[in-house]
């Protein structure tokens, strides 16, 4: 993102405490038009609270935020036309049809009828839902409901979109549709801030930040985060990855272990030099393994390492 473009969303020192916990702790970042910004972090990291404050449904204790130039903290009403907020479960009326839900939200935003029809036709097409327009929302599958939520959330051409784990519990096909719609929006110059629990989705974002215990730990493009990672990653394939992970916990100097589909990622400093020692350990414990090689770290490796070793990773 070039520095000359004004950010669509600015967040400065946003803080919110609940009794006994500082849910969001001095979060600052900018999201630019045409950018997908991913907020990644474990449950309870403060992602939802951050998004709710930005949406204007929860006042922050401290800090400020602007959406398309309007201050959402002091004047939430002014930002509403430019803003769209989609919570984990979008509030759909299950006893209204797809079209009626879209019309309801469109009218609340004052979208003109012909404009709404054109927009919803285009969005429903992209969502692969054109033939379900007369169906009751309650009769849709989980993925369809979530896509309908997105259509409703986009009906008023927002400039900034806040998505809270939009694809959690959504089938792979619908997830693909979902991301296609998001990429179309990017072309329109929309700024998207999304939280996600799927780390493979984090790789699809232009920039990502790890949120942990209310703070942003890393903040950069996925590529830069990976290349700036000081440690190395060994991928070990195994038919019994769980047991292998347990065994590897005994090896000293391992920073963190990440289960993958077919084995384990070992995050460790100077990985190549450690291969013989790790092999010896696995052989003596009689854990089956087939292949062991150094790989490029994934975002997941980075974040799991940051969260489990409990240290701040640097930029942010």
């Amino acid at each position: 993102m070039t520095a000359a473009v004004q950010p669509a969303l600015t967040i400065r020192g946003l803080t919110k405490s609940f009794p006994g916990i500082r849910a969001v702790d001095g979060v600052s970042c900018d999201v630019y038009p045409g950018e997908i910004f991913g907020l990644v972090g474990p449950d309870g990291a403060g992602k939802t609270t951050t998004l709710r404050m930005l949406a204007g449904v929860m006042p922050p204790d401290q800090g400020s935020a602007t959406v398309a130039g309007s201050d959402v903290v002091h004047d939430p009403e002014a930002a509403k036309h430019d803003l769209s907020y989609m919570p984990q479960r979008f509030g759909l009326y299950e006893d209204l049809t797809v079209d009626e839900n879209i019309r309801f939200y469109g009218d609340l935003f004052g979208v003109r009828a012909n404009e709404r029809r054109a927009r919803s036709a285009q969005l429903l097409e992209a969502a692969g839902m054109s033939e379900f327009r007369k169906r009751l929302a309650g009769k849709l599958s989980g993925g369809m409901k979530q896509k309908l939520g997105l259509v409703c959330a986009l009906i008023h051409h927002p400039k900034v979109i806040l998505l809270d784990e939009p694809t959690t519990g959504v089938d792979p096909v619908s997830r693909r549709d979902f991301w296609r719609i998001l990429y179309n929006l990017i072309a329109e110059g929309v700024a998207i801030l999304t939280s996600t629990a799927y780390l493979d989705e984090a790789e699809r974002c232009h920039r990502v930040a790890l949120m942990h215990e209310g703070k942003l730990l890393f903040l950069d493009t996925p590529a830069k985060l990976k290349s700036g990672f000081a440690k190395g990653v060994l991928a070990i394939l195994s038919s019994d990855a769980r047991r292998m992970k347990e065994e590897l916990k005994r090896v000293e100097g391992i920073s963190s272990l990440v289960l993958t589909g077919d084995g384990v990622h070992v995050v460790i400093e100077d990985p190549v030099r450690r291969i013989p020692q790790i092999k010896a350990q696995l052989v003596s414990a009689q854990v089956p393994f087939s292949e062991m090689r150094q790989v490029v770290p994934t975002i997941e490796d980075l974040f799991v390492d940051a969260v489990t070793s409990g240290r701040s990773g640097g930029q942010g």
Partner: protein, 377 residues
């Protein structure tokens, strides 16, 4: 602005009226309940199960018994022979009242002395017992009077004219036959409306909170007052239609006379509905699930009906409770309903009740709107 309100209303009506079952719930149960209450809510007593123990076996005692068996109030089921049978019958609930005529009943009468009739009543239902004992007294008195008159006629006809007596002519106004149905049907209209409108309003708002649409709506440019109006106006209209329906059943099916003007009834209903919408909204602001709303509504409905004068007269309540009843909108609405139905009175007489409901309505609505704003934060 008006477009948003209009869309809220369209949405509410689609939701309320599309589903056949919801539609049935809005209009079916009120009519069914009106029918049920209309027949069941009744203080009148007929055919009280009666047992008689006549230990005198005289012409006089048989004459007295026949007065009971020919009365519509008593149903003489058993003629007893032994005093011990009474306890058993009353315990089993086979008799509510047992009348015992002592030996020597006729002899005492003939001597011009006081003869005694004992009535044993099952007091578990105090109301029935009270009313039944009233009828016993009536029958016993008329028997005594007729006996005296007869005796005098036979023994000293010349003195009959000299015996002074007071004859009572009862002329109950507005409800000549003192039918308790006429008293209850207007009350049922009021209490059904109370139950219906408070629960429907509370549920409709709480449901939006439960399914997450409330938060979704609040990130749109809609103003809270537009939302509140959009939520309450449909139930206001549905409430009006329901009052119309059950009032029609009350008037035409139960033949309760409608003597006043429709305009007075409509005004009273509108004011009462304002209060009920306020209560419904207020319940929704303290409940986050429909179950909670249900329990909260229950805690409102029971006392509201009890303190309204629906069944129990307010004048017999302790003073502090009587003060509390002034906060009950139904109390005023029942006066309006009964006034319009039975007395046919108008605004001039019902003004205090109308004013009270208007004040309560404004207070309740403002309070609930204020609380609603706070609950959103």
């Amino acid at each position: 602005m008006l477009a948003r309100l209009k869309q809220m209303l369209i949405k509410e009506f689609i939701q309320a009226l599309r589903d056949k079952r919801t539609r049935a719930i809005l209009f079916g149960p009120p009519i069914i309940q009106m029918l049920v209450f209309g027949y069941a809510a009744n203080f009148e007593i007929h055919h009280v199960a009666t047992a008689i123990l006549d230990l005198d076996h005289s012409q006089e005692s048989r004459e007295l018994v026949s007065r009971f068996s020919s009365s519509p109030y008593f149903d003489v089921r058993r003629q007893l022979t032994d005093r011990n049978q009474i306890v058993d019958l009353i315990d089993r609930g086979e008799a509510v009242i047992a009348l015992q005529i002592q030996p020597g009943f006729a002899e005492n009468l003939r001597k011009g002395q006081t003869a005694s009739l004992q009535a044993i009543l099952d007091g578990t239902n105090s109301n029935t017992a009270l009313i039944a004992s009233g009828y016993v007294t009536q029958i016993a008195q008329s028997f005594a009077q007729d006996y005296q008159r007869d005796r005098m006629q036979r023994t000293a006809p010349q003195f009959v004219k000299l015996v002074p007596s007071v004859e009572l002519y009862q002329r109950p106004w507005y409800n000549t036959d003192l039918k308790s149905r006429w008293f209850f049907v207007p009350g049922v209209i009021g209490s059904l409306t109370l139950v219906l409108v408070t629960t429907l309003t509370a549920f409709a708002v709480v449901r939006e909170r439960e399914i997450g649409t409330l938060e979704q709506i609040m990130v749109t440019p809609i103003r809270p007052w537009e939302f509140i109006l959009g939520k309450t106006l449909p139930f206001f209209l549905i409430g009006l239609v329901d009052v119309g329906l059950i009032a029609t059943v009350g008037t035409f099916w139960f033949q309760v006379p409608f003597r006043g003007s429709l305009l007075v009834l409509l005004t009273g209903t509108v004011l009462f509905l304002l209060c009920m919408l306020g209560v419904g909204l207020l319940i929704s602001t303290v409940s986050s699930t429909q179950q909670q709303a249900m329990v909260t509504a229950f805690f409102f409905i029971m006392p509201a009906i009890t303190f309204s004068g629906f069944g129990f007269p307010i004048s017999t309540m302790p003073q502090w409770l009587q003060w509390l009843t002034y906060l009950d909108p139904l109390r005023y609405f029942l006066v309006v309903l009964r006034g319009v139905y039975l007395k046919g009175v108008g605004f001039a007489i019902l003004a205090p009740q109308m004013l009270a409901m208007a004040v309560l309505g404004i207070v309740l609505l403002s309070l609930s709107v204020f609380r609603f704003h706070k609950a959103l934060d």
